[in-house]
């Protein structure tokens, strides 16, 4: 019975995320208005039948800019989290597998990175690279690398001591094979859950960076940027800021929900606990 309820939650979360992602990715072909077209006579309009979510201070369609902004957001966060997973995951796995001085040096370096407040570190990285969407992605990747490294090192350490890893070593399996076919596959659920949850957090960080003017630059549609620009006209017309905020919330919430649902479904301990309870 547990699986039914959990599967419903998972299905809902997945649908929620997929709809948003498809909407964002397919934006150019879905017949939205041109997000760059400025109509001076239509500035700061409330939602109406032409501009469903109103227009901004330059007369651009808010709905189109939100969908295109979500696209920018997703591109940079997905890039960032993938890079972080690749770098952090590799570091964490190798540190757990080889231990010794490599582990100590690398993980202490990760601890140093970890000690910085997220935004401060990201701002530092962007100040070196110059503000644009790609710098924001790289900055987020650097911020999240130690999280993945730490996160995977723990369970990987446990797996390295598992008898089947010893068994693989006894049959003479190479390091690559042990990591690739004995350790990594057993970490998939941890990776899935954490990637989803970190995507949710990364969307907020990306929005914060754009809000501060450190992410995508105008006129690129960006959710954080819309929030920031809309702020100046909040009394005249709250619509661009409010809708951009809601879009950020929905995106982030979707991935968070997905991560939670995945965790509940994939964590065998939770599954057993519920089976016992019933």
């Amino acid at each position: 019975m547990h699986s039914l309820r959990q599967n419903k939650l998972l299905a809902f979360a997945l649908a929620f995320v997929v709809v948003q992602v498809v909407l964002a990715l397919a934006a150019p072909w879905l017949g939205f208005q041109d997000p760059f077209r400025q109509i001076m006579s239509q500035r700061i309009k409330a939602p109406n039948e032409v501009n469903w979510l109103g227009t901004d201070q330059l007369g651009r369609d808010v709905l189109a800019r939100i969908v295109w902004g979500a696209r920018t957001s997703l591109f940079s966060t997905a890039t960032a989290v993938s890079l972080a997973l690749l770098a952090g995951g590799t570091i964490g796995l190798l540190a757990a597998y080889y231990r010794g001085w490599f582990d100590r040096i690398v993980m202490r370096t990760m601890d140093v990175l970890f000690a910085f407040p997220i935004l401060l570190l990201a701002i530092g990285v962007i100040s070196v690279l110059g503000p644009n969407a790609w710098s924001a992605a790289i900055a987020i990747a650097i911020v999240y690398t130690p999280i993945f490294a730490r996160l995977l090192r723990g369970p990987a350490l446990v797996l390295c001591e598992a008898e089947y890893v010893l068994g693989a070593r006894a049959v003479g399996a190479s390091d690559l094979r042990i990591i690739g076919s004995h350790i990594l596959p057993n970490l998939v659920s941890v990776i899935l859950v954490q990637t989803s949850i970190l995507l949710s957090a990364a969307i907020l960080v990306e929005a914060s960076l754009s809000f501060l003017g450190l992410g995508a630059q105008p006129p690129t549609p960006s959710l954080g940027l819309m929030l920031s620009e809309g702020r100046n006209f909040l009394l005249l017309s709250p619509w661009p800021a409010v809708f951009a905020g809601i879009a950020i919330l929905l995106l982030s919430f979707g991935f968070n929900l997905l991560g939670d649902a995945l965790r509940d479904t994939l964590d065998p301990r939770l599954r057993d606990a519920e089976a016992v309870a019933q």
Partner: protein, 360 residues
């Protein structure tokens, strides 16, 4: 192994094997001590025989078995398998040696990767060491599954679908895949139901006869070791205290620790059971990080003497093929007297009771 006559050719020679796990402390991981898991162990295993290695939990027998295959890097000593000292081999040369020596693990649940199919698990050693085509590999996997009594239909199932005994068969098939000469069986039956234990042991014996395998059989089940082993080594706190042929050891244990260990085995015959005198050891096993001065057993030995607390007894060959490390047998006269006393039948054992599991 009653019908099995081992040759006297030595396959495995272990000399002065030491395996210390460092205890580190502080920021710079200063070494503050060692856990002496295996502390100067020497023995030979002859080709085609089964050497039983018994002892309490934590005495270092599993560590010793794993060190023999160099799953751990040894601290000191040599391990010659077929003349090659594997304690000193480079990682690459060691990998090429792997096919000759294999291991069967204690817990078949933990020793099989839950995300690999049976065919994947058994085929893994083949992937690593051979260049068989897909079809040849599958044929070999089927052959191995037949050899250990697993239905071929199970090849694409995952370990969780099997019972403990079947999982252990998968583990044995994996160990056999590369035609090894030497297999370390690390408590292969300890995690199994009593009814399954006999099946697995019989399978191991049958495979030994058919393939001429040499086993190191690690166990704390004295009755099972008596059934399967040709010679038995008794381990206490990282050292071998007594090594003898099965008959000699069970009929006439010489080291006080062996005597105590064997006296704990229950007797199926009620008449003998009534007269069975148990030697109850007091106290706990000392920590291997801080073993006592002199003989390791001096803190619990019922026959402890002054010298035991000062001088570590050397392992000496008291009779041909019989090694004992105990000060009681320093002179020939005391040796004879004590041996006679111990052979009086008060600590007699069940002769053939492979299904009784005796934890010590």
């Amino acid at each position: 192994m009653f019908d099995h006559a081992p040759s006297q050719k030595t396959l495995v020679e272990v000399d002065g094997l030491k395996l210390y796990f460092p205890i580190t402390a502080g920021l710079f991981r200063r070494r503050v001590g060692d856990v002496k898991a295996v502390d100067g162990v020497s023995f030979n295993i002859y080709q085609g025989e089964t050497l039983g290695l018994v002892g309490e939990s934590g005495c270092g027998k599993s560590t010793c078995g794993r060190a023999l295959l160099r799953l751990y890097n040894v601290t000191d000593g040599s391990i010659r398998i077929g003349g090659v000292d594997i304690a000193r081999l480079s990682a690459d040369a060691l990998r090429r040696m792997r096919p000759t020596m294999q291991m069967v693990f204690q817990d078949p649940q933990a020793s099989l990767n839950p995300r690999m199919t049976v065919a994947g698990i058994i085929g893994e050693p083949l992937d690593e060491h051979t260049t068989l085509s897909r079809a040849e590999k599958l044929a070999r996997i089927y052959e191995l599954m037949d050899a250990v009594g697993l239905s071929r239909d199970f090849a694409n199932r995952y370990p969780h679908a099997f019972s403990g005994g079947q999982r252990q068969r998968i583990g044995i098939a994996r160990a056999l895949a590369l035609n090894p000469r030497f297999i370390v069986c690390d408590e292969p039956i300890a995690a199994l139901d009593v009814s399954i234990q006999a099946q697995v042991v019989n399978l191991l014996e049958e495979l030994q006869d058919r393939l001429g395998l040499t086993y190191l059989f690690i166990s704390h089940d004295l009755s099972m070791v008596r059934h399967i082993a040709d010679r038995v080594a008794v381990m206490y706190l990282g050292k071998i205290v007594e090594l003898a042929t099965r008959e000699a050891l069970y009929e006439r244990p010489m080291h006080p620790y062996t005597q105590a260990l064997l006296s704990a085995v229950p007797e199926p015959d009620p008449v003998h059971e009534a007269s069975r005198r148990r030697i109850i050891l007091t106290g706990d096993v000392p920590s291997p990080a801080n073993p006592p001065q002199g003989c390791n057993f001096c803190t619990r030995c019922p026959k402890v003497m002054d010298i035991c607390r000062r001088v570590e007894p050397a392992s000496r060959e008291l009779e041909p093929g019989r090694f004992v490390a105990c000060h009681l047998y320093e002179t020939a006269t005391t040796a004879g007297a004590t041996a006679a006393e111990n052979g009086s039948g008060k600590t007699r054992l069940s002769t053939n009771n492979p299904t009784t599991q005796q934890g010590v």
